[in-house]
Symmetry: C2
Subunit: 247 residues, 2 copies
DNA sequence: CGGACAGTTGAATGAATTCAACAATCGTGG
DNA sequence: CCACGATTGTTGAATTCATTCAACTGTCCG
């Protein structure tokens, strides 16, 4: 039986994290087993010591302030968002373990977006200066940074398509399938998972009201597509959900 | 008197383009006067020979096909867009002279987005392999690539905020101010300019119907905010337009 | 010159929102 | 460990902003 991701998240948090053994920090090729023998581990050691635990509601970085660090999520989850002048918020992404935060603003002096932790979350903090140095020295890291930014752009485009052209059903279906895929990629169950964000956050992200999210969830449930128990989701008919999401 | 950008666009097209004198290709630091004496111009010379003229409706690159080139726009304008499985399109950006296209998909094997020329447009085509090589050799180029991608992510976030949280008036105001800013940055008039895209394209980009775009334009005109004559726009009250756009 | 396309406006429709009330669950301090 | 206030989730009814459908005008290009 495939364990659901909440169990694994707990395990990951307890796992020892050294430059040599940390699987989640592999993003930058900080680990020998991920990246082969060509990695200079002297720098990563200075990086990994900035490991930190945050709890629900804590802010990783704030809009308008200079961005000092890049964040690799080891366990837990984070939301990032931007705001209008008059305080309306648009969530731009939800980020789970193994993902990287803060590369979007490397060119900007001040961060335009903000990141807030959704549940107890362990992150590796990498000072931007250290990353830049590391980037100059190791070609594979350069490549990874480019790849991660490129991926973010692709994700952004997908969300724009959703916000601009999809109706409520398609939005929620697309949202759920996105998480299904990401969990699967991390060897969690693609059909049974726990969403760490509120209905209100989901609605905000998808550009619809909290109430509409609820209504669509109930309709999907009535149609036998899935079952929900608060934030626990079990997808029953992945194929039909894909048909609804429509690219 | 400040010339409007259509006149300058014609001039730019006629201007001679050599690795030494091309101002528009300065994006990658291809020109000595832009980038100082540390640039190796042997590579740029291989780049600049791929200069090409496209006309209205031509495709620069297509979704699902391998992306071979990066495009620097010398004059004219281009729209980029993504599509749903069933053919709905979301325009993700309009790009004018001096801007760069195609960096978003460098990590992907196949391009997810597509680029189509809005009017007669001159571009410099840089093969991705050449850029990668050039990137490895020249640190400043690396930095530029990162900066451009970072800027694209910031722009994307702004559009998401618009699509997810703004009403029709705010959307069109934001749209017009964006162009105003970009034209100003290129020394064109920030209050009198020609939009190269149709009302339908504007609507698609802003996530609203073509008709709604028209209605808002008329209302803005009735309120004395601006005047329009087809695609020619003259902004009369920039301050009030900013107040409407709301971040 | 004429057909196609782009832009504009009005009227009817509708999908999602807002407002409201209530239920279920969480978490915190006694 | 329980109770109670706060938060989160759900559902119904009324409302609204934008869309859709339709008709028409102006303009561009072959």
């Amino acid at each position: 039986m495939i364990p659901d991701q909440s169990v694994l998240a707990r395990d990951a948090a307890n796992e020892a994290c050294s430059p040599i053994s940390c699987k989640n920090c592999g993003i930058f090729g900080l680990c020998r087993e991920v990246n082969g023998p060509d990695v200079d581990l002297s720098l990563p050691e200075t990086i990994v010591k900035f490991r930190k635990l945050y709890k629900r509601g804590d802010v990783l970085y704030r809009a308008g302030e200079p961005q000092r660090d890049i964040f690799a999520i080891r366990s837990g989850s984070v939301k990032t968002y931007v705001m209008t002048d008059d305080g309306r918020m648009q969530i731009t992404g939800f980020h789970i373990s193994g993902e990287l935060l803060g590369l979007g603003s490397v060119a900007a002096i001040y961060s335009a977006s903000e990141a807030r932790v959704l549940e107890t979350t362990m992150v590796c903090e990498v000072p931007i200066d250290v990353l830049k140095k590391y980037c100059e020295d190791v070609p594979s890291v350069r490549q990874q940074v480019i790849n991660i930014m490129s991926q973010e752009i692709l994700d952004n485009h997908e969300l724009m398509l959703l916000l601009g052209k999809k109706n409520a059903d398609e939005r929620l279906a697309t949202f759920l399938l996105g998480f299904s895929r990401r969990f699967q990629k991390r060897s969690y169950s693609p059909t049974k998972f726990n969403l760490s964000m509120s209905r209100s956050d989901i609605g905000n992200y998808l550009g619809m009201a909290e109430e509409t999210v609820c209504r669509v969830f109930t309709r999907f449930q009535d149609d036998g597509l899935l079952t929900t128990e608060r934030r626990q989701v079990k997808i029953l008919d992945l194929a039909r959900l894909k048909a609804i999401a429509r690219g």
